[in-house]
Amino acid sequence: MAKMSLDVNGKVHTIDADPDMPLLYALRGDLGLNNPQFGCGLAQCGACTVHLNGQPVRSCVTPVSAVGSGKVVTLAGLGTPDKPHPLQTAYIEEEVFQCGYCINGWIMTAAELLARKKKPTDAEIKDALTGLKCRCGTHVSIMRAVKRAAEMMG
């Protein structure tokens, strides 16, 4: 066990945890956050995705000790009802998901894409999002929402 500080959504928390423990369990267990979600524990689905210094990472395989002073942003930190991220607005407008369990992966990964690429093509969107899983089969809605958000971001 070791004491560590974690910068999550702009707040610094201190936790006492096994350094090998994946970040996912610190966020869900020690900090009590509702998201991200456990999907596979193998970095194969994306349900646990958060941003670490602006880059999407799979928190289920990222040791908490590797986070250091890095800034972690979860879906809750990406935007709020008062100040939504365009992807959150687009998800609501397009009514994208069915169960919604997968959205951490899709939204956090697409947010990084849209931060570096204006109006990506369909192929570029698919290339950025490949490997993420959605079991309900909402992929055509996801494509609509990412393109809508890209339009909103100009």
Partner: protein
């Protein structure tokens, strides 16, 4: 449900609570005398007991005039709650945003069957509509009394009842009853589950009067999840709870014979729960429970590997003794004679593998046992049955258990959510603390109940004139109810079977649903025994549209094979034989919408490595009709299929919400495409070897169709039928038919993974 036997207790309690309360209910044309006569029995202060024959069970008006709709089914993500709110708001003449649908809580809803058989609107909505109509009738009667205006001279707008002739004479629902409960008897059909129906005296509106039903009202459940404000079942936290992990054997059927608790002694709070074949660990922190599950040293019994090799699966099905055979009662003519006189016989056999629910997250449940009762938080599609299963496991009466449905990773049938709830119950009882259990990915993929593997043989007899004179279709398969479609009894759960309750494997399959008329026609099914009779990772149960995809893959591929043999356009062949007018309409609609060009398959005008083709398939499902055209590209070098475009014509009677319906159809198509192109549960003779997303691949965003074009056929005067599953059952056949059109090669085994397609093309 024991509560339903307590109607007497209900009226006694009502009497006790009656003193001084306002009369809020009528059961007959109201007048002062009758009011005085019945008033003492009709007042309701607190929430009355839940009984299916009381209006208060389904509808309540809150103090501020909002409407609570208590629903014994639940929305698994297709927007059902929105549809129900529209149906209730329509009948009550309130704004749709004033309706709150409270779903799947055994403390606030009766058992309407849970999510089941795509009948959320068809059966569940029908009941909620009837209850809402009755509530409006009662409220108008109450207003008539209060305003001194006959009921037939009153109108209702946005929850305010007002005299048609005098706008100053008005009273709101809130003023009439807000915060108290109806005490109106309904005419209950004495059924629970899907069949429950309890209308009142009111007749629901005519569709011509609709202002809210049929509109694309937006879902309200998206934003709370997008902003991470609303959690899932995985996020339920109960003070004092521990985290658990179950431990499964390497050889299916093996049981623990020696467990070394010392192997986890260094992990904080780690404990073992071991009961016969059932084995789990708990710890205060989830990560510690995971570590304990990995570290625990277990010696397993010397079990004989229970399965055939995967390569021998379909031979096993062919050769296995038939446990039950059923011939569809709709057979016609003399099929065997027709085949004797045939000039030509066309025949084919099709194969479909075991498939996994492979939930987006593995099954999860939270259970707390205290004060002589228990609470279970579950994402199971049937929480009332989950409640019954927990009660049976704990040997408690069902009314001592509270089942609370919380949305979870998508649930499309009897997935692992129910098993997680029963496992958590066993563990909570053993450790004396509330328990949260979430399975590992390997359990979620390898140990969930599977969609049954099957073979399907089809034959057609053709006479010398090229007419189809005989048709014979038989499925042979594992049962769709080896374990039941709910977890209400321990023998249907892993926890029950591991703790010594014998499996009671049932027999069930189905036949194609269509309206083809052939002079001699027979459709039948045969079921075989499970491969392992206890706690099997290959136990079979309901997976979305139970056995529909496999059956219609075969039957609708075979229709195309007949068309090819007779050199007829596949739509023309279907239209020659389909007899139902609505079936004809969906087939014609999809032909028109997709721009179908009449010709026989395959195309003969293509060369190069990428070829394209189109395919049609059509079906019925419990009243709904679907026709679908797939347009695919086949990369002949890699074997990769891209289904570029789907066109769907869909008729499910009266449409409640066209937007949710369209997206539900899109989800069906894409999930169906995933099952068609990729999904197959792998196993060796010891166990299932599909344990994650590498070994159980599903559709990737790079496989996503460019377009899914949906033509909705609205029939306002035809009762709504289901939409949650019909479209999925025709996807595989449409894709197979399109691949044949592109390549001239017929694929008769799902999935059409690149290696298999490549092998078939070479």
């Amino acid at each position: 449900m024991t509560r339903m036997d307590k109607r007497d207790a209900f009226s006694r309690r009502s009497l006790l609570k009656a003193g001084g309360a306002v009369v809020i209910s009528v059961g007959m044309p109201i007048g002062l005398e009758s009011l005085l006569a019945i008033s003492s029995a009709l007042a309701q202060g607190g929430k009355p007991p839940l009984v299916p024959n009381q209006l208060s069970t389904y509808i309540a008006i809150t103090a501020d005039g909002g409407v609570s709709a208590f629903f014994g089914k639940m929305d698994m993500g297709q927007g059902l709650a929105t549809a129900i709110s529209q149906m209730v708001a329509e009948e009550l003449d309130v704004q749709v945003e004033r309706v709150t649908v409270l779903m799947g809580d055994t403390g606030t809803s009766v058992n309407q069957g849970g999510a089941s058989s795509s009948n959320g609107v068809q059966d569940g909505g029908k009941q909620m509509r009837a209850a809402a109509a009755e509530a409006r009738r009662v409220l108008v009667e109450m207003a008539a009394e209060k305003l001194g205006v006959p009921a037939d001279q009153l109108t209702v707008t946005n929850g305010v009842v007002q005299a048609a002739a005098d706008a100053t004479k008005k009273v709101s629902y809130a003023d009439l009853i807000g915060g108290r409960y109806f005490n109106v008897q309904l005419n209950w059909n004495k059924q629970i589950g899907n069949a429950l129906y309890a209308p009142g005296k009111a007749k629901p509106k005519s569709p011509s009067e609709y202002k809210i039903v049929g509109k694309p009202i937006k879902r309200t459940d998206i934003a709370p999840k997008v902003f991470s404000q609303q959690g899932f079942v995985t996020d339920v936290k109960v003070p004092g709870m521990v985290h658990a992990r179950t431990i499964r054997p390497e050889i299916a059927g093996a049981v623990p014979v020696k467990v070394d608790e010392g192997s986890i002694k260094d992990i904080p709070g780690a404990r073992v729960v071991w009961d016969q074949g059932f084995l789990a660990v708990v710890a205060d922190k989830e990560w510690d429970a995971l570590k304990a599950a990995r570290a625990l040293k277990v010696e397993w019994s010397d079990a004989k590997p229970p399965f055939p090799s995967e390569a021998a699966l379909y031979d096993h099905i062919r050769k296995a003794p038939v446990r039950k055979r059923e011939v569809d009662k709709g057979q016609s003519g003399n099929v065997d004679e027709a085949f004797k006189t045939a000039a030509r016989v066309i025949e084919a056999e099709y194969e479909w593998p075991f498939q996994s629910h492979a939930g987006m997250g593995p099954g999860c449940a939270v259970v707390e046992i205290k004060d002589g009762g228990a609470t279970v938080w579950t994402s199971s599609q049937k929480p009332h049955y989950t409640r019954d299963g927990v009660a049976a496991t704990l040997d408690l009466p069902p009314d001592k258990v509270h089942g609370i449905w919380v949305s979870g990773p998508g649930c499309y049938g009897r997935n692992d959510a129910g098993d997680a709830a029963m496992d958590a119950t066993v563990i909570a009882k053993a450790v004396g603390r509330p328990v949260r259990l979430q399975y590992s990915r390997a359990e979620g993929t390898a140990w969930d109940p599977k969609g049954p593997a099957s073979i399907h043989r089809a034959r057609a007899a053709v006479d010398a004139a090229g007419q189809v004179i005989g048709y014979d279709f038989v499925s042979k398969a594992f049962s769709r109810i080896d374990v039941m479609f709910h977890e209400g009894q321990p023998h249907d759960t892993l926890a029950g079977q591991l703790r010594g309750v014998a499996l009671k494997s049932g027999d069930g399959f189905r036949v194609p649903e269509e309206s083809y008329a052939f002079p001699n026609k027979r459709m039948s099914w045969e079921t075989i025994a499970p491969l392992l009779d206890r706690a099997s990772p290959l136990r079979t149960a309901h997976l979305r549209d139970p056995v529909g995809p496999q059956i219609h893959f075969a039957s609708e591929s075979f229709l195309d094979e007949i068309a090819v043999a007779l050199s007829i356009d596949p739509i023309e062949l279907r239209l020659r034989h389909v007899k139902d007018a609505r079936d004809i309409a969906v087939i014609k609609a999809v032909a028109e919408k997709s721009g179908w060009q009449q010709r026989s398959s395959p195309r003969r005008d293509q060369s190069g490595s990428t070829v394209s083709g189109r395919g049609i398939a059509y079906c019925q499902r419990s009243g709904t009709r679907v026709a679908i055209v797939a347009e695919v590209e086949v990369d002949r070098r890699s074997g990769k299929i891209w289904a570029r475009k789907f066109t769907v014509a869909h008729d499910c009677g009266q449409i409640i919400n066209p937007r949710n319906l369209t997206q539900t159809i899109e989800g069906n198509v894409v999930q169906g495409l995933s099952r068609t192109l990729w999904e197959e549960t792998h196993f060796d003779n010891k166990n299932v070897t599909s344990v994650d997303w590498q070994s159980y691949p599903i559709l990737d965003i790079t496989d996503t169709p460019e377009t899914i074009d949906v033509a909705l056929i609205d029939r306002p005067d035809v009762a709504s039928s289901g939409a949650g599953e019909p479209a999925i059952r025709v996807v595989a056949a449409a894709v197979a038919n399109a691949i044949f059109d592109a390549t001239g090669v017929r694929l008769r085994r799902v999935p059409f993974s690149p290696d298999r397609v490549k092998a078939a093309l070479s």
